[in-house]
């Protein structure tokens, strides 16, 4: 069968090392360290996460409370626009106040960061966990399990996510905590991409020597999954998660805009942004601050994610050792940015925050249909 032959050819192009165990944490860190952009991104994110964690403390230090209204700071006759320049910034309210309510914007942004980052992180984690479980089961659970789960995954990928999100937010009781609801909705609807990556990677791995050896050695499926497969799956899954996380942050904002996000008085970036958009002219600070923060965060996660992906790529090490010819030999570190087929297609799993559907990826990391590939 020609198709299967091509698989073989393709696999031979991809260095076998690529599917071997990932480099240890020490090696990853050593490589990350040499990238200024990655370090800077990491720094920005560290500050941001720390600030979000310490939000109650910081806002208390600033003498503010994200829930306190200050009606006297806004001009009721002018649509509730803050008095004063730059969104009503003052010694007491460092970044100004929210139009309409007069709530402190600094406090809102920090507390909003908590919610937004938590929702995005929680959703990503859930997507990864469910995706791993489904992907592994499909790959190891036998022919029927695979067929069934692959079709289910297809559905998850094909579904317009927003529709289900709206429907799901509707059926839960009104007092269910919104952030948790968002985590569940995004997590439970968005695992299709992870599961495809995991399944495809596991399929590839299980034919490899070290896994085969383990199986021959009498290890059960679970044990093989835990001891041999999971460590090797860490790299592609982490890479994938690094792409999912920023897109989950943007998705939270879009869900807010569609009216199914976090609700006032709880602040989140998305919720701030969706009210802020029309203020771009009357109170630019109100738009710029949340959108700037969101942008910087997404950018930082993206750059860091790229760097981590490259650092996790085992071929980086080999390429450094072997060296590449031509001009690239002079900049060996950059050579490592290339990604092997599996992870690069994984990049397509990010969801579109507008179409709301998970962007599907090809059935497997190889262009060849998975059915044909199964041994």
């Amino acid at each position: 069968m020609a198709v299967r032959q091509e698989t073989a050819v393709r696999d031979s192009v991809t260095p076998l090392g690529a599917t071997g165990p990932a480099p240890g944490p020490g090696g990853v860190w050593r490589r990350l360290r040499t990238r200024p952009a990655a370090l800077a991104s990491g720094g920005v994110l560290a500050v941001l996460v720390a600030a979000a964690l310490a939000a109650p403390l910081l806002t208390a230090l600033a003498g503010q409370d994200p829930y306190a209204y200050h009606g006297d700071l806004v001009d009721s006759a002018r649509g509730g626009a803050p008095h004063g320049a730059f969104g009503g910034a003052s010694g007491a309210h460092w970044l100004g106040v929210e139009p309409g309510t007069g709530r402190d914007l600094f406090a809102l942004l920090l507390h909003g960061a908590r919610v937004s980052l938590l929702v995005a992180a929680g959703a990503t984690l859930l997507q990864v966990v469910v995706g791993l479980a489904v992907g592994l089961t499909a790959a190891l659970g036998g022919r029927w399990a695979d067929r069934l789960l692959s079709r289910v995954t297809d559905v998850m990928v094909a579904l317009p996510m927003l529709v289900l999100a709206i429907a799901l937010t509707t059926v839960v009781p009104g007092d269910f905590p919104r952030p948790l609801l968002l985590v569940l909705v995004m997590g439970l609807l968005g695992w299709g991409g992870v599961s495809r990556v995991v399944r495809a990677r596991t399929m590839a791995l299980r034919g490899l020597d070290f896994v085969a050896a383990a199986r021959l050695g009498g290890s059960g499926r679970l044990r093989v999954a835990r001891r041999e497969l999971l460590p090797s799956l860490a790299a592609p899954v982490l890479t994938y998660a690094a792409i999912l996380l920023p897109s989950n942050i943007v998705l939270e904002a879009s869900l807010s805009f569609l009216g199914i996000g976090v609700k006032p008085p709880t602040p989140s970036w998305g919720q701030l942004l969706s009210t802020a958009t029309t203020w771009y002219r009357a109170d630019p600070a109100y738009v710029l601050l949340p959108s700037g923060l969101l942008f910087v965060t997404v950018l930082a996660f993206t750059v860091l994610g790229d760097a981590v992906r490259a650092a996790l790529d085992p071929r980086e090490a080999s390429r450094l050792r072997v060296g590449t010819r031509g001009e690239r030999a002079e900049r060996p570190l950059e050579g490592g940015e290339s990604v092997h087929v599996g992870t690069r297609l994984a990049g397509s799993g990010a969801k579109s925050a507008d179409t709301g559907t998970r962007l599907p990826r090809t059935g497997a990391e190889s262009p060849v249909p998975h059915e044909e590939k199964a041994p």
């Binding site: 069968m1 091509e6 297809d154």
Partner: protein, 335 residues
């Protein structure tokens, strides 16, 4: 030939599988919507309807039947067509009949057919733009890394991705139409009516969605180009003294594009499901808006109809992407 045959067989198999999946999906939607608050009969009847009127409307819409019977009617319509009362007369809805909207008595198929041109216009244009922008940026950054153009383009595509689409679209509108006044505010003009006006009016929606999606393509193109450039046969070409330009144009690009094309086909499928926010910002009467509106009105026939159409688009795109990827990829591989 063998490859093509088995490719076709695979595709056919997959389409059958997909049809089953879609059927299961429609069952799931029926069940889910059964749980939703909001009584479709009451919503269709209006808030000031008294209980007896609501009952009449419920009966007319067939909502008084158990949910499995409703689903059976749906299937029956799909395969044999159904008759509906329009009050003054009886109308026939021919197979495959997706039913009638609960809220406004329009055939679902009519609503979808009316919404499709706008969605198609948006999807095709945005995808084209996205590919041009994304692949261009990706190639530039793979080939001349560190250049100023590359940096500008990279930041631009990243900015597109890091900004929620509702903000991006609104800002584009404000800047281009209100501030600089380079373009009038877009209003949808069907392609069939006036192609030139159609294009001008679609420009900003294309840009919004295209920009939003392009960073992904830039990254993918860059990664796969770098990878191909590092592969043995390219090194061999270089070693044989083939010029750098030729290497890139003839070989590297051909090797790097398949994953991009595959992803493009998939994204196109998804976009055909409608980009609700973009459609709404620019007043495009497309499927995305139809869908979200009908979800809120608990208008089940419309929801199921649109989801089935979207699902079909995505599944077909999936299959096409796989085939494209396989075909495109083979050419660069040594035989």
């Amino acid at each position: 030939m063998n490859a093509l045959l088995s490719g076709a067989r695979f595709t056919a198999k997959r389409l059958v599988g997909a049809a089953l999946v879609l059927l299961v999906l429609s069952v799931a939607l029926y069940s889910l919507f059964y749980l939703l608050p909001g009584d479709p009969a009451r919503l269709a009847c209006g808030e000031r309807c008294d209980p007896s009127q609501v009952a009449q409307v419920r009966e007319r819409l067939g909502l008084d039947e158990p949910v499995h019977a409703q689903y059976a009617h749906f299937l029956q319509g799909l395969f044999t067509g159904r008759d509906y009362s329009a009050g003054t007369s009886v109308r026939h809805c021919a197979a495959p009949c997706l039913g009638l909207s609960h809220q406004n008595d329009q055939p679902v198929s009519t609503l979808i057919v009316e919404g499709f041109p706008a969605t198609l216009s948006l999807a095709v244009g945005a995808m084209t733009l996205c590919l041009l922008l994304g692949v261009g940026t990706g190639l530039l950054s793979a080939l001349r890394r560190g250049g100023i153009t590359e940096r500008v383009l990279t930041v631009l595509t990243l900015a597109g991705t890091g900004t929620p689409v509702f903000l991006l679209g609104l800002l584009l509108l404000m800047v281009v139409c209100a501030y600089l006044r380079w373009l009038p505010f877009p209003s949808y003009v069907p392609l069939a009516e006036d192609p030139e006006q159609w294009a001008w009016n679609m420009l900003l929606p294309w840009l919004t969605l295209g920009l939003f999606e392009s960073a992904k393509y830039a990254r993918l193109t860059r990664a796969s180009t770098l990878e191909v450039l590092a592969e043995d046969h390219i090194r061999t070409f270089r070693a044989y003294g083939v010029g750098e330009r030729a290497v890139v144009a003839r070989h590297a690009l051909r090797g790097a594009l398949p994953p991009v094309i595959a992803l493009g086909a998939l994204d196109l499928g998804t976009m055909l499901g409608g980009a609700m926010i973009t459609e709404s910002l620019f007043g495009l009467p497309g499927l995305g808006r139809l869908l979200i509106g009908s979800v809120r009105d608990v208008d089940l026939p419309v929801v199921v109809g649109v989801v089935l159409v979207i699902g079909t688009a995505v599944v077909v795109a999936n299959a096409v992407a796989d085939v494209l990827h396989a075909l495109a990829d083979r050419r660069v591989l040594p035989s």
